[in-house]
């Protein structure tokens, strides 16, 4: 089989086993949607609040399905010896990793799609202002946080410490990046940190695509910069065991 056909086989294999792990499926699918519904219900569904929340949850979904999921997955594959096994077979590394990434990409797009659907049907938010931009910016976010997730897994020493490493990034990041409220209301120091990191900029881009309005050209540029950094780190520090 060609490397591309093998990547497709790996992708199908990943899809099959994804649903066999209920806790992963929960974190990937249910948690962000639950937060969306809870926050929208608890803090009112004013249009301007939903305009912040829907793109915010969409950004958080991209983060969760790629960065979080891949940090766990790559750490687990390495620590449980599956990477080592694959490394000794003729399955090309690019096909293997490619299949895993493709599976995460599908989860991210499904999730963003669900957020948009729930926003429209449950809370009466308009359909996205720019569909193509939504696709493009979701793809950019997936590339960015996917690469960063693979790279970050290299820093996680073992499976036991993976939740601590992931949440040390995930939880502060979603709070300073304007997932639940506008990032402009943060203290300057935290706002500065959020400005340097990619999630806030991804959410700005998604906000343009979903709600409309405007975004700074620097926003996708910063996300792209983190994508390249993530790719370099992911390849440079890759280890089989």
């Amino acid at each position: 089989m060609s490397p591309f056909a093998l990547a497709w086989e790996q992708f199908r294999f990943e899809r099959k086993i994804f649903w066999r792990n209920p806790s992963a499926a929960f974190f990937n699918f249910v948690l962000p949607l639950l937060l969306l519904v809870l926050i929208a219900s608890a803090f009112g569904s004013e249009a301007d609040e939903l305009d912040v929340l829907i793109p915010g949850i969409a950004g958080m979904s991209v983060l969760g399905t790629t960065f979080t999921a891949l940090t766990y997955e790559m750490t687990w594959l390495r620590e449980d010896g599956i990477l080592k096994r694959v490394g000794g077979t003729p399955l090309p590394t690019t096909s293997f990793i490619g299949g895993i990434l493709a599976s995460a990409v599908v989860n991210a797009f499904l999730q963003v799609g669900l957020v948009v659907l729930i926003g429209h049907f449950a809370y009466g938010v308009d359909w996205p202002a720019h569909w193509l931009s939504l696709l493009g910016f979701t793809a950019l976010g997936v590339a960015c946080f996917g690469a960063l997730g693979v790279a970050f897994a290299h820093a996680v020493p073992n499976m036991d410490s993976a939740p601590a490493y992931v949440n040390a990034v995930f939880v502060p990041l979603i709070f300073i990046s304007g997932v639940f409220y506008s990032a402009e209301s943060l203290p300057p120091v935290l706002e500065g940190i959020a400005e340097a990191l990619p999630l806030k900029h991804l959410i700005d881009c998604l906000s343009y695509a979903i709600v409309g309005g405007d975004y700074a050209v620097t926003a996708p540029a910063i996300v792209l910069g983190w994508t390249l950094a993530g790719l370099v780190l992911a390849v440079r520090y890759f280890r089989w065991e």
Binding site: G81, G88, T89, P90, L91
Partner: protein, 283 residues
Amino acid sequence: MAGLAIEVADLHKSYGATAAVRGVSFGVREGEVFGLLGPNGAGKTTTVEILEGHRKRNSGRVSVLGHDPEERDRRLQERVGIVLQSGGFYPRVTVQEAVAHFAKAYPRPRDTAETIALVGLEQKSDSRANELSGGQRRRLDLALALVGDPELVFLDEPTTGFDPAARRTAWDTIRTLKELGKTVVLTTHYLEEAQELADRVAIVKDGRIVAEGPPGELGPGSYRVSYVSEGRRVTHETDDPTELLHRLTRDAVARGERLDGLEVKRPTLEEVYLELTKEEAER
């Protein structure tokens, strides 16, 4: 004589300041079971992992089926099966699914059901890896190594932690590999296992090979001739027991004596092993 499947010359590998392999050279012939025998930490696993392509050497020449394993060439990996010391399973994937999945990467895989039967897991074909016992997992490991129908199989400590019955079963499987014409490289710290399975063994100690040959012919002074004289056992070591026995019995007959308790023995692999490793320790 069969060609060489593996050639290793002056192999060195260090981890930081610790030298794990210090100038190892050996050859493995096509179709033989070759045992790397030695205590834990002797450098067996490091040597095998270099041959498998999992580790990079510091220096020395290595050829596996004509390839340098360090390059991780797909054409080599298609011809090699590797059994890991532990782990490497998807917990929620059945035996059948795992074997079928890993088969896809090989150009001429063995049939999935046939592979599962070869390792005796037919009854567990639809069980997930996390439902298997330790011994069954090792058999799944072997199935994953064999599904590509490799010419060369690496087995690193294949029976560590097995009970005697499971060990016998694993030995039968390894004999089956030999019957199928596979070349097998086996590491073990069980002398009995090397004696039972290996056509030739190399004893590894402190990163060096201290003896190499068929398990029955290893060691210095390969025959021991002994008898009891005046209440004490006298032992001679020799490479030529015919000549020695002739001399001893001729002299005894001439003196009109008997050689009580006369024995001609080859030292067991265990005796050779203990002697060689003891020598090393005393230096």
